[in-house]
Structures are given as C-alpha cells and as structure tokens.
C-alpha cells in the first residue's frame, strides 16, 4: 500500500514540492497563480511532463504488436504503468486494471457491459443525491431502456449520506449501487466500505466513483471490497485522456466487451470472433500509451510524497480554509460534513459565483464556479451554483490567504 516513506514524513516541504510543478511559477493577470481548481483538474509535476516527452522522443511505437525493440519498450512501459496502478490501489491482479479515457468512460463501460446484462424491468439501481452527472446519466439511460428505477439516497444539510435511508432502499431488486467515494461539489468522504458491505448483503455489486478520492487519500480495493472503482488520471497529477476502471476479475470475465476493434480480440473471422483475455477485452484500439506511462509517473510521484504527508497537509489546509471562510460575514460554506477531502464550496449573499470567479481571476486565483456537473446537489441546497476552491498537496496557507483577500474584493464590489 501507499502509505509513503515514513522517514520523509516529518519533512514535508511544500515549497520544495511546488518547485516540481512548473505551472505554479507563472503569473496570471499580473499576479502569481493561486491554483485552487484541483477538483476540476490537477497540475502536473515535471516528472509527468518529462515522461510524456521522453516517451515520444525515445520510445514511441504501438503496443502488443510488433516484435521490434521500440514496440517491446512501449509495451513494457504501458504494462509497467498498469502494474504501478494495481499496486497503488492494492488490486489483486493486473488484469483487473483497465485503461480508459477517464472516470466517465469507466462508468459507461460498467453501465454498458454489466448493467445492461443484469438490470431488468422493475429492478433498482441506487445512486446518491451528491453524484456527478457522469454517475447519474449512464444509469438513467440504462433504467429508461430496461424499465428499471433509479433510486436516489438523500443527504442531510451538511452533505452526509443518510445511511438509514440507504439501508431502507436496498432490496433484492437492487441490481447495482453506484456511489461517489468523495463528493466533487461538497467534499464529503462517504463511508465507502460500509456502503459496499450493505449492498453485498443483498447481492448487489457496487461501483465507486473515485475521481475525487484518489488524489487525496490511499484507496485499497481489498479494504473497500467494491466491485468496480473508476477514476481519472488528470485529477491525480497525470495527463488528460487516461483513466482507470478497476473491476473484480470474475465480474469482468463474465462481461461482454464495451467496444469492438483491434487489441480486444484473439481471432477474427466473419463467422466468429474470439475476444481477448482481461484486461485487453476492454481496451479496443490503440490506447493512450504515453498517457498511461505518464499516469504511472504520477503515481510514482504521489507514492514518493506519501499519503501520510499529503493527507496531513491537506487536512490542515482544509481546517485553515474552513475557519477563514466561515469567519467572513456573507459567505456560506456548502458541504460541512465532518469527514471531508479538499473541497471548499461556498456561496456569497450578494454575488453570483460567476462574478466571484471573475473577480478572483483578476487576482490570479483560479477556482471553479457553477453547478460542478452536480445539479441535483445544487437543487438539494436550493442554490443555482457555488464557488468552489479545491485543494491539492501543493497548495499553501498563503493560497488560502489570497482567496480570502480576493473575497474581500468581491465584497467591495457587491457588498
């Protein structure tokens, strides 16, 4: 597991870490960049950028095809990245690690290749009230097609899942539970292992949307015992266009392919095509080889820092930021669950989040504004949108101070 190098744990030097991220050195609108939009995408360390450049400079070739040297090196790099990611999430087998484009594709793969085969009329798929649209819409499509019901576990005013309601919702009709591990709009960390075991009591498999979890905390497939786990590389300090779907091998083996094409077959004739083994059955076509290798480099980088340090630093920042924002009159935090990761979502009495975002941008501060692809969350809190500052381990208390100063400027304009 990725608990990090304990000898280094005492010496987390955020300034040294920031030196690894070239983008953080630049000025935006005449101010040093204060990047607080990590929930949307994270910045990349030099080692990840170098991995991409190195791959295209020295290795580029297609994987699983040629006998020539570069193709073998590319294949080794690609498969080596898969093994790194398997260790990173403590999956049992490299065959359970499928490269996708992103979390959304992973969820859609499960919707297509699992849910469509197992969900029938009158069955239930359960999601929560704090899902990203990508963990709602694929299930709506399946439910509409199959005459099944999408059930939604409600949340309380702090943004915690109502576990009693979840318990009541589970039944033999439950064919799949698909719930976020960490809420992108609220920051809530959900009790994922408990959610999984409760569903398993009814024989229902569970998909966890880990997009907002993997950058902030160690995730362990054996501890969680979830059946599927999806996340994106670009929120984990890797490049865009590469993501991971973990699936238990027995489930994946029984599932039909998601897409047809090269790489996912053993043999093709017009009479009969034999599908390839895991994980290749789900990786049709030439994959994002450079992206996979660079994601491996990102995982190396995170492992090298260690989650002991990352979590401690981010928890301190979150505490500092929560206190700073709650002490400003006219600012309201949305999402105040006791267990949160890296998200400060807020509204202001007199200023719409877009106006907040523009005024902060003038000062070089990047945040996300809008509904965060989680409109049901906005509806739950009766707000059109929020301003969201989202943290990574390279953020500092000075970043939070800049945010507070920026909010003061919003108050000057909008009162």
């Amino acid at each position: 597991m990725t608990t990090g190098d304990r000898t280094a744990a005492a010496a987390f030097d955020v300034e040294k870490v920031r030196d690894d991220f070239p983008i953080l050195k630049q000025q935006v609108n005449g101010h040093p960049l204060v990047y607080l939009d990590n929930g949307a995408t994270s910045q990349k360390p030099q080692s990840v950028i170098d991995a991409i450049v190195r791959y295209y400079t020295t290795t580029n070739a297609n994987v699983h095809r040629g006998v020539h040297t570069l193709s073998q090196q590319a294949t080794d790099g690609y498969e080596g990245a898969r093994a790194k990611i398997r260790r990173f999430i403590n999956a049992g087998d490299d065959r359970e690690i499928i490269f996708t484009r992103n979390t959304t594709e992973g969820i859609n793969l499960v919707a297509h290749s699992y849910a469509r085969q197992h969900v029938g009329p009158g069955d239930d798929i359960i999601v929560s009230n704090m899902e990203h649209h990508s963990n709602i819409v694929p299930w709506q499509i399946v439910c509409e097609e199959k005459g099944a019901n999408l059930r939604v576990v409600p949340i309380d005013d702090t943004g915690e899942l109502l576990m009693d309601e979840y318990e009541k919702m589970l039944s033999p009709r439950t064919k799949l539970v698909s719930i976020t591990h960490v809420s992108n709009a609220l920051g809530t960390i959900l009790p994922a292992a408990q959610i999984v075991s409760m569903a398993h009591a009814y024989g229902a498999p569970v998909l966890l949307d880990g997009a907002q979890a993997v950058p902030h905390m160690p995730v362990d497939m054996q501890e969680l015992d979830c059946d599927f786990y999806a996340f994106s590389g670009h929120k984990l300090f890797g490049p865009t266009g590469i993501g991971i779907l973990y699936g238990k091998s027995d489930l994946l083996e029984a599932m039909p392919p998601f897409m047809g094409g090269g790489d996912m077959i053993k043999s093709v004739t017009f009479e009969k095509t034999i599908y390839n083994d895991l994980p290749y059955k789900f990786e049709a076509g030439t994959p994002d080889i450079a992206g996979a290798i660079a994601l491996g480099a990102a995982v190396d980088y995170v492992n090298n820092l260690g989650f002991d340090q990352i979590t401690a630093h981010e928890e301190e920042l979150l505490r500092y930021g929560t206190q700073a924002l709650t002490s400003i009159a006219g600012v309201k935090l949305i999402g105040t669950a006791p267990h949160k990761a890296g998200i400060l979502s807020f509204t202001m009495d007199n200023a719409h989040p877009h106006d907040i975002g523009t005024i902060l941008d003038e000062q070089g501060i990047a945040i996300r504004t809008g509904h965060h692809c989680a409109q049901p969350v906005m509806l739950r809190f009766q707000i059109p949108a929020t301003a969201r500052a989202s943290l990574a381990f390279y953020n500092t208390k000075e970043d939070i101070d800049a945010l507070v100063k920026g909010i003061d400027r919003v108050l000057e304009v909008f009162g």
Binding site: G30, H352, H354, T358, E362, G370, A385, F414
Partner: protein, 152 residues
Amino acid sequence: MPQQPEVPLDGLYGDLVMDHYRHPHNRALISEADIEAEEFNPFCGDRAALQIKLDGQGKVCNVSARSEGCSIIQAATSMLSDMLPGKSLCELTAIAERFRASMYNGTGDDTEGLGDLLALQVVRRYPVRIKCALLPLVALEEGIKAYHSKAG
C-alpha cells in the same frame, strides 16, 4: 497567456451594470404573451426568459424579462428588455444582430437601438463571459424564430 488590464473591475461592474443587476427592469410576468422563450446555459445552469406581447400593428407593447444567474446575465436581460417596446419584429431582429456583432467585433458607428446594452462592451475584455451577456439575446432570437414558424 494574454494579460488583462490591472483591476478593471470597476469597468465590468460599472454603475449601469450594477443598477440593472440590483434593480432589473420589466420583471412582471405578462399573460397571453405572443412570444415566449427561455434559454439555459447548460454549463452553469443560468437562465434567461422573455415574454413579448405584440399590438395590432405587430409592435412590441409589453415585455417581461426574467433571469437567474450572474450580474452580467441579469443586467443584459434587463437592458435588452428596455430596448424592445415599440419595435417591430424586423427591427428587433436587426437590433439582435447588431448587439451580437458588437459583442464580438465592437460597435463601430452602428449603435442604433442598443441603448444601455452598450455598457456591456466592457464584457468583451472577458471573453468567457460574453456568453452570459448573449443568453437573453439567444432567448429573443429563438422566441422570434418560434413565433414565425408558428405563424407559418
């Protein structure tokens, strides 16, 4: 990346924009509108809705304009609603075209019928916000289009 001028926010959030934002005009709903249109920005959930009533000569005699969202959408919706009364649909289409062109290319000398909407020229310095300013305009255009297709 392109540098923007230092703290020009007094420009973006100038008196006229803030007046319309804080006290939007023509918000009362009207019954039996001839033209009704509502546009959403799917990326932010913002909304602009227009209702227009025409008189016997086909000119706008009553307008309702409501919006939810940022100051720019709300100000633009209010400003646009002020420009509609007394105009024919042809004239409205011309104003709409002029307004859209002005948001992308500047006004030149052709500012007829734009009124307070000219204050939104400052939004051109914030390209990502231009779509906010144009949302009520899209509602107007779609409303007129639907009215013509209904009228056959």
